[in-house]
Symmetry: C2
């Protein structure tokens, strides 16, 4: 299995604190040694840092811990391989372009007997994970359903949530998917989120000794939601999502759910 991390915020925010906790699970406090990746959006553009080395030893991960990249939408993943060998092409997040937007996707879980069911045509996987195949299948369906983007792009994400739920019949399927503005979290069995806003307080990482006082780092208008497989802090109340439920975030706020 793997661990997911994502952020949706109304102001460009750095995710160093949460990422620092996550990368410890990549080979130190957790067994997820098989690569990691993180996608930062900056407007419609994005950039993905990935590595097939364990995140706890990765030079690139070290850079990201010391060099705060501010973003309103971030998707990250650390991998413990089950389907597909350890290599760069099997490392999440995966990305594709549709409607002139950058989409990114990360998955935690494992599907079974999926090869005859998941047969995308337009978007094809580069690697050989169940995850990328599921992503390509979702993008194929989305492009077929909406050759042009729906006026209200939330509809597209409702559609993705419904299609994602169908994939849950094939196994464990927790997913994060974003077009840079919206961020959809679909829970298969394990996904938590927390929204931080004024009055901000202190937070303490579970995986390493680090405490942050968000009041020092924020303004009273900031709204920042963090989503993670397991809570990253020990002294805050995270929402535990129910299996099969989904939340759509924009600018740090829940804008739809089901």
């Amino acid at each position: 299995m793997c661990e997911l991390l994502a952020m949706s915020a109304n102001v460009p925010t750095d995710i160093v604190f949460s990422f620092t906790g996550l990368v410890e699970r990549g080979g130190k406090t957790g067994p997820h040694r098989d690569g990691w990746g993180i996608t930062f959006y900056d407007g419609p553009g994005n950039r993905t840092f990935k590595d097939s080395d364990p995140s706890c030893h990765s030079e690139v991960a070290s850079l990201l811990k010391s060099y705060p990249i501010k973003s309103k939408t971030v998707v990250s993943h650390i991998r413990q391989a089950n389907r597909g060998r350890v290599c760069l092409e099997n490392t999440h997040p995966f990305g594709r372009e549709l409607w002139g937007r950058n989409w990114c996707f990360a998955h935690n879980g494992q599907l079974s007997d999926y090869k005859t069911v998941l047969q995308p045509e337009r978007f094809l996987p580069v690697g050989n994970t169940d995850s990328e195949l599921a992503f390509c299948t979702l993008m194929d369906k989305l492009a077929a359903r909406y050759p042009k983007p729906p006026k209200d792009r939330k509809q597209a994400f409702r559609f993705l949530a419904r299609e994602g739920r169908k994939l849950q019949q094939l196994g464990v399927f927790n997913m994060l998917i974003s077009d840079g503005v919206y961020l959809l979290a679909l829970c298969g069995n394990n996904l938590h989120w927390i929204t931080r806003q004024a009055p901000f307080g202190e937070a303490r990482l579970i995986d390493t000794e680090m405490v942050i006082d968000f009041q020092q780092e924020t303004t009273p208008k900031d709204v920042v939601t963090v989503i993670a497989t397991r809570p990253l802090t020990s002294n805050e109340a995270w929402h535990k999502m129910e299996a099969g439920s989904w939340c759509l975030f924009r600018e740090g706020k829940v804008v739809a759910q089901g």
Copy 2:
């Protein structure tokens, strides 16, 4: 205008030496202050580091100078904006997936009166550069001509070279395009390349004080080709490409040209 850099090699090779020369041109010895990017392939997977900050001051560029990522195929670009503002989505190399392969593209030049001519449908630009629009147009044409990959993938690159030449009627168009195995360089007005192989010698960068003895870094079987807008070293003989000509490289060797 911009500067291009690429590498094709028969063994995973680091490009730190050439990249170190290039990034100096990103705001120090050259005026290309408007972002930079570099794509490294590792098998079919790839990863792109990009930044809209000048490369000579970029923290990410510093990491790459000190942390040698070995790759057989690399494409890089530093930007001096003409079409499209300075932002992440306008930063090269651009990437798209076709046939389950990661394609990447970088352009140096400037097109005029292109908006009515370049109207891709399947691959759409995320940013607003002439370069990304040209790339999407090429990918559209490639996907239309070859819905499935041709048996000999060199054909696809011959097709791209022909289509790229048509774009040269719209302005200056030097391009690099790769699927990770093949690397096509099409010259509009300014592109040079050099192949280094045994017996290896010393090379001296033009843009900063750095000398490397490749004999210390290589084995006798290595073949490494570097392509750049302008030669990066002062003591080696680079091939100057003619306007309109193209070279296709694989494993460091020219496998087709026109």
